[in-house]
């Protein structure tokens, strides 16, 4: 039942058995969330700090809710309005918070590897809520959970990740998780947004034609075009991106099968996905958000023992 790791830094470090444990535990927590009183006392002796050095809506609310549903005490911290502006280092900030007897740290940071650095220097359990362009492990776990819930298994499923693979931490975590769980993975998007040696490095298929990619897959996970990370021009315009890689109703109707549509949010409607697709019955976008709370409860619960 125990996880092989003290922290959740990325899916890369997890064993398949760890992923199984988290998904199984999350299923039981999902049942807790259907009860009249959606709360269990498991972590009432645990204090958790949510350190968000980068903006977030879903992940932050989801973690906070998961912590509250487990009866943990929580502190929220965001970089604006804090001593970061006065020049305090990451390690000093965290050590100061930990000296107030905090057991677990949930952190989002714009620098890839920030939680790994922290894990080497502090005793508390660290949960990566997204680091730069590296990993977003809880998102991949909830995506895996949602696929399994919808179609029974991950083994042998064909999943395509569409869009900005280069800058997406969701894509990297998803690739690690899906491969470990026995699924087949394809990445699709414009060549400028797909890392050059990804096939060799991560053993995934690459496809530049969206229709062919959709025809191949059982599940399409549509990634957000990260407007805030596009410093150089990697495609000519959003309009052109939508024409070539936007998932539209017309395109889905032209396939001879029904595929599952996912999106980690926030959606750019009319860019990577059209509204009528996002709001259709094929889409499980809102179920993903719902499952996120159960997944985060499972991760916090399974890591809590080692944090003491």
């Amino acid at each position: 039942m125990q996880l092989s790791t003290k922290h959740l830094l990325g899916i890369k470090d997890l064993q398949r058995s760890d992923i199984e444990s988290i998904l199984t535990t999350a299923k039981q927590f999902k049942e807790v969330l259907q009860r009249p009183i959606k709360k269990v006392p498991s972590l009432r002796d645990t204090t958790i700090v949510n350190l968000f050095y980068e903006s977030s809506t879903r992940t932050r609310i989801s973690f906070e809710l998961a912590e509250k549903r487990l009866s943990a005490d929580t502190i929220n911290f965001s970089s604006s309005g804090s001593s970061i502006a006065k020049g305090e280092t990451l390690l000093d900030t965290v050590n100061n918070i930990l000296s107030m007897k905090v057991d677990m740290v949930v952190m989002r940071h714009s620098a890839s590897g920030a939680p790994h650095f922290l894990a080497q220097h502090i005793p508390a359990a660290i949960i990566n809520a997204g680091d730069g362009i590296n990993e977003h492990p809880t998102q991949a776990l909830l995506d895996g959970f949602s696929i399994r819930e919808k179609s029974g298994t991950l083994e042998g499923k064909k999943v395509v990740l569409i869009g900005d693979i280069m800058h997406s931490r969701v894509a990297l975590s998803n690739i690690y998780l899906l491969k470990k769980m026995g699924a087949e993975v394809m990445v699709a998007g414009p060549p400028t947004l797909i890392p050059k040696y990804i096939t060799e490095a991560l053993d995934v298929h690459v496809e530049y034609n969206l229709k062919k990619a959709l025809q191949w897959c059982d599940v399409a996970n549509v990634l957000r075009i990260q407007l805030e990370r596009q410093n150089q021009v990697l495609f000519s315009s959003l309009r052109e991106y939508n024409l070539a890689y936007g998932v539209s109703k017309k395109l889905l109707d032209s396939l001879n099968k029904e595929i599952i549509i996912m999106h980690p949010g926030p959606i750019n409607r009319g860019v990577e996905i059209d509204s009528d697709v996002a709001d259709s019955n094929q889409s499980i976008i809102l179920q993903q958000v719902e499952n996120g709370v159960a997944i985060r409860m499972a991760v916090l619960y399974l890591l809590s023992e080692k944090s003491q």
């Binding site: 039942m1 125990q2 199984t24 535990t25 039981q28 927590f29 049942e31 807790v32 009860r35 009249p36 009183i37 709360k39 269990v40 006392p41 498991s42 002796d45 619960y301 399974l302 809590s304 023992e305 003491q308």
Partner: protein, 169 residues
């Protein structure tokens, strides 16, 4: 290894427990039977089977409860959570908790806590197959008891549902 109940005795004891439940609750439709994961489920399944045979036309409400998230020893060891399924409201119902072995009473303490999250029952009773009396660490006693035994804390009582017997070792 010492046999506490053999196959025949186990069968009779379950019959008796089910009949005692009917005797005390003429309004069996208003009773919610809740088996505690995992050992209690086997016993609860058997009791429900007998109750259905006795009350053919009446509906028996039966749920399953897992207490893992309510344990008081979560810091010592993590346990594998099991499925909870209570597909009805327990508000104003008479709830009978069913477990195989009553030992320290800590499982039942956790189950009582868990029940609160599902509503406010009119009354809660406890039905166990084996009562390891004098091993209690909390003020909890059964209302229906298959067999009370004396045992010391280092001994183990095991209900072997596959071989249908109860042993002490």
């Amino acid at each position: 290894m010492q046999t506490i109940l053999d196959k025949n005795q186990l069968h009779l004891t379950i019959q008796r427990l089910a009949h005692q439940l009917v005797e005390n609750h003429p309004d069996i439709e208003n009773v919610a039977l809740i088996g505690i994961q995992t050992g209690g489920i086997y016993l609860a399944d058997k009791i429900v089977e007998v109750l259905k045979a006795i009350n053919k036309e009446k509906k028996i409400q039966y749920g399953k409860l897992d207490i893992t998230f309510y344990r008081d020893d979560i810091r010592k060891e993590l346990h594998v959570p099991n499925h909870t399924e209570i597909p009805f409201s327990i508000d104003n119902k008479k709830v009978v908790l069913i477990d195989d072995v009553l030992f320290t009473g800590r499982t039942i303490r956790a189950a009582l806590d868990a029940l609160q999250d599902f509503g406010r029952p009119q009354k809660v009773e406890l039905c166990v197959l084996i009562d390891r009396k004098s091993s209690r660490q909390l003020p909890i006693q059964p209302d229906y008891c298959g067999k009370a035994i004396d045992s010391i804390i280092t001994e183990t009582v095991k209900v072997k549902w596959d071989r249908e017997e109860v042993v002490l070792f």
